[in-house]
């Protein structure tokens, strides 16, 4: 039996419609129970009718390298560009990209034009989500400060009442320490997190690439790791003060990229502070040597003794240097930092993997490296990169799936309107089915996102998503069999 014969749709599949599915002989991952194994799942009318773990002869020949079923993924950090830059992405194309990547919930950053800093702007957001026809949940963050200008608080209370799941000035770190303190305290009344992009901008003025060997040899202005670690340390110190008065205060540090900033979070968690963080697939898998033209993964760029290798010495510079699809904030770091991101996932310091999906129009990327917009289009390649890390033995499959499901659910907290990160009988089906062994080639045409800005164009990735079902309704499907 071909592996894909295990996935049978009982009715015609149509985007947005409730599904009837018989998923037999699959490998089921339950991140909440911490369990994985052979199973069959039956979905009727969009509702999970049966989940049955298989044993003995029924389970024979089913392993974790074939068809895998997991709860639908949640992405804590995406940019959908609407309103204001629909050439880069719309809510509809962004949600299609999410579904194509296996995500059933995306948390949307407010750095649109205008910034999402008033409750009435949420009406337009919700109308666009509804108009997309996608069943993928799009949960909005509100701006933390008015206009993301960092000068006065946004209407955090009203935004929260209107459905904002947290507050962020992402891309523009909150420079003022007193304002960050107020934002943490104010949002803390409602138990909602401040999501900070930890960066000391005085250390990164004009910065282009992670400070170190690669930036030096390429003549790119260094982006010190200290800019992230010092901002993270400041944020945590302020949180420690705030939380004494406002027990509901919560800090989430997004897209941490350095060993030093992750160590700040590790210690803060050990001290019992309500801080969480995420890391991105690109900071796990890519390194700054990609800027010089290397294309090996981070775990291939380390010596046996754990030191970063020299790509010139290794003769691995195969691609054009200064590829602006690699320009991202925070920048791609060293192989040691990428390893620290993996270690943080393994020991629970990092709660989630978030893509920081940052689509851009070609006009903003087909320019000089130093002038290019920051960001990588990441929703559709996240699973593939993570599975590369799994295949390399750097990340157990269960932990990877947890970082895409139960981890982000825990970050969002009980107030967030998302599904339980578990496939349970009687609940609407919210799941992804992917073929871990099926490789697909990333092409501009294959990407549903308008943002084609990924260094993976032309590269094969493992883990083709076969089905994404959100809230019982079909979100994405690939031709089966």
């Amino acid at each position: 039996m071909s592996p894909r014969a295990a996935v049978a749709a009982r009715s015609g599949l149509e985007i947005g419609k409730p599904v009837d599915l018989d998923l037999s002989r699959t490998w089921l991952v339950d991140p909440v129970a911490g369990r994985e194994g052979p199973a069959e799942i039956v979905v009727r009318g969009g509702v999970v009718a049966a989940v049955r773990w298989l044993r003995g002869p029924e389970a024979a020949g089913i392993d974790d390298r074939g068809i895998i079923v997991a709860p639908g993924f949640t992405d804590l950090h995406v940019h959908l560009r609407e309103p204001g830059n629909e050439a880069a992405e719309t809510i509809a194309t962004g949600l299609a990209a999410a579904a194509h990547g296996g995500f059933t919930t995306v948390c949307v950053m407010p750095n649109t034009t205008p910034a999402l800093d008033h409750p009435w702007l949420l009406d337009g957001f919700r109308a666009a989500v509804a108009g997309s026809g996608s069943p993928v949940r799009a949960l909005p963050y509100g701006a933390a400060t008015a206009g993301r200008a960092g000068e006065q608080l946004a209407p955090i209370g009203e935004l929260g009442d209107a459905g904002a799941i947290g507050f962020s000035d992402d891309g523009a770190p909150i420079r003022s320490a007193p304002l960050l303190r107020s934002a943490l305290a104010y949002a803390g009344m409602g138990g909602l997190p401040i999501v900070d992009h930890a960066e000391d901008p005085t250390l990164t003025d004009g910065a282009e690439a992670n400070e170190g060997l690669i930036a030096t040899a390429l003549g790119l202005k260094g982006w010190p790791a200290a800019a992230e670690a010092s901002a993270a340390a400041r944020d945590v110190a302020i949180l420690a003060d705030v939380v004494r008065d406002v027990p509901g205060a919560r800090l989430h540090l997004t897209h941490l990229s350095t060993g030093a900033s992750l160590e700040v979070v590790r210690r803060a968690k050990a001290a019992g502070l309500p801080v969480t963080c995420d890391v991105t697939p690109h900071h796990l898998a890519f390194t700054d040597e990609w800027l010089a033209g290397a294309r090996r993964f981070a775990w291939e760029a380390l010596d046996a003794d754990g030191a970063a290798r020299d790509p010139w010495r290794d003769g691995v510079l195969t691609a054009r240097p200064f590829d602006s699809s690699l320009r991202v904030n925070p920048p791609l770091r060293s192989a040691l930092d990428a390893t620290a991101c993996l270690a943080a996932l393994l020991d629970g310091t990092a709660d989630a993997i978030a893509t920081d999906h940052a689509p851009h129009a070609a006009v903003d990327k087909d320019v000089e490296f130093g002038l290019a917009a920051n960001g990588i289009s990441g929703l559709e390649t996240a699973l593939g990169l993570i599975l590369e890390a799994v295949a390399a033995g750097r990340l157990p499959l269960l932990r990877a799936i947890q970082a895409l499901t139960s981890g982000p659910a825990r970050v969002l907290g009980a107030r967030a309107p998302i599904a339980e990160a578990s496939i349970m009988e009687g609940s609407p089906a919210d799941l992804v089915v992917f073929d871990r062994s099926a490789r697909w080639t990333v092409t501009r045409e294959a990407l549903a996102s308008r943002g084609k800005n990924t260094p993976l164009v032309g590269r094969e990735l493992p883990g083709q998503v076969l089905l994404t079902v959100a809230g019982g309704r079909l979100a994405s499907t690939n031709p089966l069999g």
Partner: protein, 343 residues
């Protein structure tokens, strides 16, 4: 005549890190021929007759620009010179649109200088002809590094005995083949290394030539170079980074100074020009630490009295004007070789 002589494998000249030592030797030998052409000892070869060479400079330049123009004209090219200030660039046209326009107007070889590191790599991907990097940001200035090496070669014949002891493995092999190298020679680059594309390109060429390379400046202007020196420039090469100017200069055969720009004070990297001159400026007293007869180089333009004292800049050990003069034959050689690679 080696096999390498006939084969120039590169369509573009974007940096020197991708050049093999035989490539570099071929440039040197071709430049020897071009020196004779410039001096009238050898018949001019109009290898670029009818070829459109466009010189596109986004930053001010005197010597590099003039030198490229002279070189292209010597080879018979029709030369168009575009400066960013006088073009549609000031109207916000993108680099790629500008290049497409120049190509449509007949550019077949494009010489470009740009303030953003890596810009020529973007252009090379979209331009149908050859791209020559005339300097990009802090990244590379390949023709300068090659003319520097050419100038050094005229003054320092191969040091057969290797008077500083062990020679790097690569250059020892070259010596056996009878080629020129800098094995056993110490070269010190002193100045604002951090912001210098000249320094970066020279790191590649000088270490490829087998030199014992020392790079020196105040620690704020060396940021990142220690990581580079530790990585070893991609092989068994000798590369030392230090703030100690006396250690860098001691017994050096070549002292290369770099321009110090005044905005370095505003960005908090240095206290003052006066202090820089006192701690790292090349004076006669400091030069006396170098090997007898050491040559003094500067890519220009010089701030006399800051990174170099006037009596050194214009003194008997200075080869600064030779560097300028060598710019033409080196660029002729490169234009010829690159055009040959496409034809």
């Amino acid at each position: 005549v080696t096999a390498a002589r006939a084969a120039w494998p590169h369509r573009h000249l974007l940096d020197v890190d991708g050049l093999s030592w035989p490539d570099i030797e071929l440039v040197m030998r071709t430049a020897d021929e071009m020196v004779d052409v410039v001096a009238g000892r050898r018949a001019a070869e109009p290898v670029l007759r009818g070829v459109g060479v466009t010189i596109l400079f986004y930053e001010a330049s005197t010597r590099t620009r003039v030198s490229f123009e002279l070189a292209a004209r010597q080879l018979g090219a029709s030369v168009v010179s575009v400066s960013a200030a006088g073009s549609s660039v000031t109207k916000g046209e993108s680099l790629l649109d500008t290049v497409r326009t120049l190509e449509a107007e007949g550019a077949e070889m494009l010489v470009m200088r740009h303030g953003v590191s890596g810009a020529p790599y973007l252009v090379a991907e979209h331009f149908g002809g050859n791209v020559l990097n005339g300097g990009d940001g802090w990244h590379a200035h390949p023709t300068q590094a090659l003319l520097d090496l050419y100038t050094i070669r005229a003054h320092l014949p191969s040091s057969g005995s290797g008077r500083r002891g062990t020679k790097p493995r690569g250059s020892a092999r070259r010596d056996e083949a009878g080629g020129w190298s800098l094995a056993g020679r110490k070269v010190a680059i002193v100045g604002d290394v951090l912001h210098s594309r000249v320094a970066r390109s020279n790191v590649w060429t000088l270490t490829a030539a087998g030199a014992d390379l020392w790079v020196c400046g105040p620690s704020t202007l060396l940021r990142g170079f220690d990581a580079w020196a530790r990585a070893g420039v991609g092989g068994e090469r000798r590369f030392t980074v230090t703030s100690d100017v006396e250690a860098a200069l001691r017994d050096a055969d070549v002292v290369m100074t770099l321009r110090l720009q005044k905005e370095r004070m505003a960005s908090g990297l240095l206290p003052s020009l006066r202090e820089y001159a006192a701690t790292h400026g090349i004076s006669r007293e400091r030069l006396a630490l170098a090997a007898p007869g050491a040559i003094v180089m500067h890519p220009g333009p010089m701030n006399e009295g800051v990174e170099i004292e006037p009596d050194v800049a214009n003194g008997p050990q200075s080869v600064v004007t030779e560097q300028v003069a060598n710019g033409v034959p080196i660029r002729m050689a490169l234009l010829k070789l690159l055009r040959g690679a496409v034809a």
